[in-house]
């Protein structure tokens, strides 16, 4: 298979979901079943294609980077800049091939699952159309070889997440959540855009390889290493928004308002994965300082979200915060230099997190049906306090949920164990090499917290007793279209798919395929090189594994002790440390702080602007109007004038009299002109004018009433007659007027051509 065919296949993988969108958004009403079968089968087709690409890439071209470049725009020589041409294209290297496959797996299974979950939805066809554009946008990010297409796809992901989160926009909370996701992401994207522009201004190219080669050859943005660090951090801002890192993580928990399969898609394959993937893509040009910022943000996010997840009571909220926490883990992994581990965790996490959400969706689905058959509209189907004891009723959902929970907690034999262990080893290396020992400490603590809250969720939802005897009678396992994806994800959470050694992934295909690229930044600002890093890493695997297993087992034991055997009273603890409980339950009050500072700040600012507009600007305008009216009133009062013709008549006579006075003055004035004489004759001329005016005004007063008024009345009646005719054309509708304008323009064209 030649590389051309691979490029063509990847174009298909990228564009077929877009075709899905285009067909469904226009024709979903005409296609049977709103076209869900079409969308699902097409996405499964891209899944097969992506597998072909992945296998061919890893076996035939394991080292090469396949690229296809197309010159999109060529502006020629631009004054002051040089040659300005924009190239776009796609690249297939190992990480893009793996990521494209992950996206296809999750997207296709979500498509399948949605057939059951979204059955009978009011906007069923549109939902599938949006899933298509979401997948398309994400594949664009994955397969692109340049920052421009990356940015375009990035924004398309933002748009489609907005559409899907707000799928049930009749609900105020859903439309608010959609807007929040969109706006919060804008903050990060502005930074990313500036970062891209810094790079473009320096290297005159959007392509990743051109930029990296430029940096490697010693060209720095604006000739300074600080700008390179700045560009790296600014690019990372985009990832902070999309991958929900602190301080822009606030949109993600709210995004739970979207349909649950959408949450699975957002959290596993699209959107939040985009940020981590982008950091992995731009990893070679990150300086040590930029990576340090990335590490700290990732670590803090992991910690923050894990603490919040402990006390949440909504099943999807717990999972949402666990995603934020795991994303922090990946970002932290990339930041510490454990590139392979970070990307590995992105892949394994995609499988079990998609599964967790779909399983939660299965629970919610069953619960809603039960509540519906009991005519209960009050109970919240997603509140874990209303759940419990579902193990017997929903065995498939339970066992797959158990598998995911084991994977996310990092129990041996799961994929999550392999990737998490790698990241933790990476943090240990980072702590040892740079002296930032806080990073590994927090990382291990978060590992324990993760195990604790995930098992809390598992116990409260599936074990124990159900809150209501009546309700549990009506709960049934979900249909096969929903349970098959669950089983597939559960199977994919085993270690065997990534490495044959359940305790160390370094011999598996994944670690061979995803090798850490060397930094291209100048050596003075670069972080530890791959060789140095691997050297220290070698001795860290076993300690990392042992510590993480200990911490995780403690977490699980505490969880069982508290929620299953009830040795520890959780409510009493919450009462005792109520300040801490409230602080965590209210998500560190971050939303409230943003509300107070940013939202209200904007409101105050716009109110100030509104005041300026309505008081000062309008004041000037109204003042001018009032002044004019005042002058007019004054004139009217003094001269007792009633009508416009009379005013015109008077102005005309006055001008005429002035002219006569002027002529009379010129007639009599002698040639010897001194100032006094001119004034004298001037007064004489004015007197003549006044006399003439008086004569005209008084003596020819009858002229006004007969001739002037007559003409005016004639004009009035003629226009009245015309008005009667034209009135028919005056429908009052804007579009009719535009039509007349159009006719006018056409007549003009005919006339002049």
């Amino acid at each position: 298979m030649t590389s051309d065919i691979l490029i063509t296949l990847s174009l298909l993988v990228w564009l077929l979901p877009l075709a899905n969108f285009a067909v469904l958004i226009f024709f979903h009403r005409r296609i049977p079943r709103s076209g869900d079968w079409l969308a699902t089968s097409v996405v499964f087709g891209t899944l097969i294609l992506s597998f072909i690409i992945l296998i061919t890439k890893l076996t035939v071209y394991p080292e090469q980077v396949l690229q296809a470049v197309y010159r999109w725009v060529d502006f020629g020589n631009v004054p002051g800049f040089g040659r300005l041409s924009i190239e776009i294209g796609i690249t297939i290297d190992n990480i893009s091939a793996i990521m494209a496959t992950v996206v296809c797996i999750v997207s296709s299974l979500v498509h399948l699952y949605s057939i059951g979950y979204m059955h009978g939805d009011i906007r069923y066809g549109r939902y599938y159309a949006y899933l298509g554009i979401f997948t398309f946008a994400m594949q664009g990010i994955v397969l692109t070889n340049n920052f421009l297409l990356l940015y375009i796809s990035w924004e398309l992901v933002g748009l489609s997440s907005y559409l899907l989160i707000g799928h049930w926009f009749e609900k105020k909370s859903a439309s608010d959540a959609a807007k929040k996701a969109f706006i919060v992401n804008r903050f990060g994207d502005v930074g990313m855009f500036i970062g891209i522009l810094i790079l473009y201004a320096t290297f005159h190219s959007f392509r990743f390889d051109t930029v990296f080669n430029g940096v490697r050859s010693g060209v720095l943005p604006f000739g300074s290493e600080a700008w390179l660090t700045a560009a790296g951090i600014l690019l990372f801002c985009g990832a902070v928004g999309k991958s929900a890192q602190f301080p822009l993580h606030v949109w993600l928990p709210d995004a739970m308002e979207g349909p649950t399969p959408v949450s699975a898609l957002i959290h596993a394959a699209t959107m939040v994965a985009a940020g981590v993937y982008m950091v992995a893509r731009t990893f070679p040009m990150m300086t040590a300082d930029a990576l340090l910022v990335i590490t700290y943000i990732g670590t803090f996010t992991a910690f923050l979200a894990a603490t919040i997840a402990i006390v949440q009571t909504d099943i999807k909220k717990v999972l949402a915060y666990s995603t934020v926490s795991q994303l922090g883990y990946m970002i932290m992994g990339l930041g510490t230099g454990a590139y392979t581990a970070g990307f590995f965790h992105l892949t394994t996490h995609a499988m079990f997190k998609a599964g967790l959400f779909l399983a939660a969706g299965s629970v919610i689905h069953a619960m809603q049906h039960s509540l519906q058959s009991l005519n209960d509209n009050q109970t919240d189907a997603q509140d874990i306090r209303n759940l419990g004891g579902l193990k017997e009723k929903m065995p498939i959902t339970f066992y797959s949920f158990l598998m995911y929970t084991l994977a996310i907690s990092g129990i041996p034999l799961t994929s999550g164990f392999l990737s998490k262990d790698e990241i933790l080893a990476g943090t240990l290396v980072f702590g040892k090499m740079t002296g930032h020992t806080i990073i590994p400490i927090v990382a291990f603590f978060v590992a324990g917290l993760t195990a604790f809250y995930m098992f809390r969720l598992l116990i409260l939802v599936f074990l124990g007793k159900h809150a209501n005897e009546q309700r549990i009678e009506h709960i049934h396992e979900s249909p096969a279209v929903m349970t098959i994806p669950l089983v597939v994800f559960a199977v994919l959470s085993f270690f065997i798919f990534f490495s044959f050694n359940p305790f160390n992934a370094s011999s598996g295909w994944f670690e061979h395929a995803v090798e850490r690229p060397e930094f291209v930044v100048p050596a003075s600002v670069a972080a530890a090189s791959t060789a140095q890093f691997e050297g220290v890493l070698h001795g860290m695997h076993t300690p990392a594994m042992l510590i993480s297993l200990t911490v995780v087992l403690i977490g699980i034991a505490l969880s069982f002790g508290t929620y299953y055997w009830k040795k520890i009273n959780a409510d009493a603890l919450a009462q005792k440390f109520s300040w801490l409980y409230k602080f965590l339950y209210n998500k560190w009050y971050i939303d409230e702080i943003y509300e107070a500072i940013i939202v209200n700040g904007t409101k105050v600012f716009s109110r100030i602007l509104g005041w300026i507009d309505s008081t000062i600007v309008d004041g000037v305008v109204n003042g001018v109007a009032k002044l004019t009216v005042g002058i007019a009133h004054g004139v009217q009062k003094t001269w007792k004038l009633q009508s416009l013709p009379a005013i015109l008549y008077i102005i005309a006579t006055a001008l005429l009299s002035l002219y006569i006075g002027w002529e009379a003055m010129l007639l009599f004035i002698p040639d010897t002109s001194s100032v006094l004489i001119v004034i004298e004759y001037g007064i004489l001329g004015l007197a003549v004018s006044a006399l003439t005016f008086f004569l005209f005004y008084k003596g020819v007063g009858g002229f006004d009433t007969t001739i002037i008024d007559g003409v005016v009345n004639l004009v009035a009646s003629v226009s009245g007659l015309l008005g009667l005719v034209v009135r028919r054309l005056q429908t009052g509708k804007v579009q009719t007027y535009i039509l007349w304008v159009l006719f006018g323009v056409i007549i003009f064209f005919l006339w002049f051509s």
């Binding site: 502006f75 429908t731 009052g732 509708k733 804007v734 579009q735 535009i738 039509l739």
Partner: protein
């Protein structure tokens, strides 16, 4: 057929003008026939963008540096401002008439 394909393969000024013309016609059609005020605004946007395409195409295929592109940039900026104001007007219309169906708004008659 072969001639058409050949023609399609080598984009020139004509191609851009045709796209611009189609866009303009679609925009005009939307402006004239849509009942929803917002749809009419969308039509106006299409018309503006048709003009943009013409600007850029003419500029590209004549010897005039970047004049057309500059114009197009201005049009884009103005269009953004126009949308802000036009949507505010639509909101106001909705508050006054309780509809944005422009067929029902014929106060201009009086």
């Amino acid at each position: 057929m072969a001639a058409t394909l050949e023609w399609l393969k080598h984009p020139g000024l004509q191609h851009f003008l045709i796209v611009g013309g189609i866009l303009f016609a679609l925009g005009l059609y939307a402006v004239l026939t849509r009942k929803n005020g917002i749809m009419v605004l969308m039509g106006v946007e299409l018309i503006l963008n048709a003009a943009n395409i013409n600007f850029i195409a003419f500029s590209r295929y004549s010897a005039r540096a970047l004049d057309g592109q500059m114009f197009a940039l201005f049009v884009i900026v103005l269009a953004a401002a126009e949308v802000a104001i036009a949507l505010a007007i639509v909101l106001n219309i909705f508050q006054n008439f309780n509809t944005i169906n422009i067929d029902e708004i014929d106060k201009l008659k009086e």
